[in-house]
């Protein structure tokens, strides 16, 4: 009897340990997010958000613009790459090799991608640091995610979609373009939103590509001019990079407050995009589950 009691005691102790570990981790993480947001908005003053001088408005604009460009690039290559893996690739050496290469890409340190971007997009093109090069570097980082999300979405579609379209006489490509891709569009969107979340926080890949300065004039809408906000071939410091440079350079008297506010803005962006992606996929699962059962 004592052996069983002993086992029960051990079981209880271990359960308590696992519960304790989880509670500690989750509370720590939630407190972390809460702390960043509360601290940031606590020290925020309106002129910090302005679009001039030491205001964060320009950096916020650069961040959004750069992520938009990066998503555009990784969508243009990642979605076709996902279609290739799901629809056209045969199970064999080449496919295995492509998959492994894309996985390697996903685990590359972002600073290595940044160095590659510096060499390929800045040194070899002979240009100055610019947003375009930065967004290409970030698109390399988000490419694996977009590819795997597209592939999974295509593979998880009910096979009746494909059979119905092919049965009506559509070609393979017509089936993909008119039936399968529209059907998994929301899933691909979710993947892109997740990728955006990653792009907002990227800094190491941008140090040597997008540059650490911003000089834009909001009255200049000549897109070829270096101070036009929409010109992608100008240097543009993002919020994440700004936090880094505030810590090393301390250019402003209120550097610490600016970094806290930047962190809070980034955190809100990342958390809201992540929640949006989760909400969309939750809605989708509900809808799909509803129609199938």
């Amino acid at each position: 009897m004592s052996r069983i009691q002993h086992k029960k005691k051990v079981d209880k102790i271990m359960t308590a340990l696992f519960f304790g570990g989880t509670a500690f981790a989750v509370i720590l993480l939630v407190a972390f997010i809460g702390f960043v947001i509360v601290q940031g908005f606590g020290v925020m003053t309106p002129d910090m958000l302005s679009f001039s001088g030491s205001g964060l408005g320009n950096m916020l604009f650069n961040t959004l613009y750069l992520v938009f460009l990066a998503l555009l690039f990784s969508m243009l290559t990642g979605v076709p790459a996902g279609i290739f893996l799901a629809e056209y690739a045969h199970q064999g050496k080449v496919t295995h090799w492509v998959r492994m290469a894309i996985e390697t890409l996903a685990s590359l340190p972002s600073i290595v991608v940044g160095l590659f971007g510096y060499l390929a997009f800045i040194v070899m093109t002979g240009s100055q640091w610019n947003l375009f090069a930065g967004s290409l570097a970030v698109s390399i980082l988000t490419l694996p995610l977009v590819t795997s999300v597209t592939e999974d979405a295509l593979r998880n579609l009910p096979s009746s979609y494909r059979q119905g379209s092919l049965g009506l006489g559509a070609s393979h490509w017509q089936t993909i373009w008119r039936v399968l891709v529209p059907a998994c569009f929301p899933r691909i969107m979710t993947g892109l939103i997740m990728a955006a979340g990653r792009g907002f926080g990227e800094a190491a890949a941008l140090m040597f590509t997008a540059g650490m300065s911003t000089d834009i004039n909001w009255n200049n809408w000549d897109i070829t001019s270096a101070s036009c906000p929409l010109n992608p071939f100008r240097p543009g410091e993002t919020l994440a990079l700004h936090i880094w440079s505030l810590r090393t350079e301390a250019l402003h008297p209120n550097a610490a407050q600016l970094a806290s506010v930047s962190s809070a803005i980034l955190m809100v962006l990342v958390v809201s995009f992540s929640l949006a992606a989760r909400y969309i996929s939750w809605r989708l699962d509900k809808k799909m589950g509803g129609t199938n059962s």
Partner: protein
């Protein structure tokens, strides 16, 4: 030709064009890491071919004094950065592993479905938090905290870097382990309970051994993330170019050295060549990790089949 024939012909033409373009995109995306590897090899090999240093010197020597000129003649021993990277990663795993595994076990084995639906998104949310934010909080909260509790000269230390990295790898290891544990067939657990095992015995003897492959994959992905993290570590490690001798003293890692020195190094000089070689080393290590993960998965697949 009648309209149907034309439509069929067009469809065939489109099919061929689309297949061609899609294949180009797929192969092109897969070529990107090869391009990156090729460029790194091109630049990183300068240390050995152009400036005549040996691989042994680079990996094992502690003398770090590359000259910032195209003439060379300095010392490029990167052992202190390599050991700094390994120590911080090891420390991060040591701190994070017990927490990650217990969270994964709690999520899959103990929690009710309701609780799991609350914890899982919370954990996954943390994979997306920007690393500079971790670094910033490490700098402003963790370092004063550590200085308050331990006697350390600066606060910037290996320990601080290990803590920040531990928080960063926690979600990776937890989600991968939890997925692997959830994939263990329910009948195995029922068989174990049916034989009179307690929950802890079922977890320790059935679930964890069965999910071993997935847990290892999670650990290696976490390790890859920790090894490649640059800015968050650079903000708290103090970036002193010394060997990691004490947990309470500053040190440097491969990534922090690249992040801090690459901007100032002369293009084509020995200093920048040595930094490129360090980037090449990081690339090769992350390739090695993916290779190991594939071997683990293949081994567990073969086992499952037999």
């Amino acid at each position: 030709m009648n309209p149907i024939e034309i439509a069929v012909k067009n469809a065939h033409r489109d099919e061929r064009a689309a297949r061609f373009l899609i294949t180009i995109c797929g192969i092109g995306a897969a070529l990107v890491p090869f391009f990156i590897g090729g460029f790194l090899l091109l630049k990183g090999s300068d240390t050995f071919l152009l400036f005549g240093h040996s691989l042994g010197e680079f990996l094992l020597s502690g003398q770090w004094a590359p000259s910032d000129t195209a003439v060379g003649g300095g010392h490029v021993g990167a052992a202190m950065f390599l050991s700094g990277s390994l120590v911080t990663c090891g420390l991060a795993l040591l701190i994070s592993l017990p927490l990650s595994i217990s969270t994964a076990i709690f999520m899959t084995e103990i929690a009710s479905p309701r609780t799991r639906r609350l914890i899982q998104p919370a954990v996954e949310l943390f994979t997306g938090i920007p690393s500079v934010v971790y670094g910033w909080i490490g700098l402003t909260v963790l370092i004063p905290f550590l200085r308050h509790f331990f006697t350390m000269p600066y606060g910037f230390s290996l320990l601080a870097a290990g803590c920040v990295l531990a928080v960063m790898v926690f979600p990776t290891i937890t989600t991968m382990s939890a997925d692997a544990m959830a994939a263990v067939p329910k009948t195995w657990r029922e068989a174990s309970y049916g034989l009179g095992a307690t929950r802890w015995e079922t977890i320790a003897r059935i679930v964890i051994p069965a999910a071993r492959g997935g847990i290892f994959t999670g650990i290696i992905l976490g390790l890859a993330r920790a090894l490649g993290e640059a800015l968050a570590v650079a903000m708290v490690i103090g970036q002193m170019k010394v060997f990691p001798t004490s947990l309470f003293l500053p040190a440097s890692t491969l990534t922090t050295a690249i992040a801090s020195d690459m901007g100032g190094a002369m293009e084509g000089g020995e200093y920048s060549a040595a930094l490129w070689t360090m980037a090449l080393l990081l690339f090769l290590l992350s390739f090695l990790f993916i290779f190991v993960i594939h071997r683990i998965n293949r081994a567990s697949q073969l086992k499952g089949r037999s």
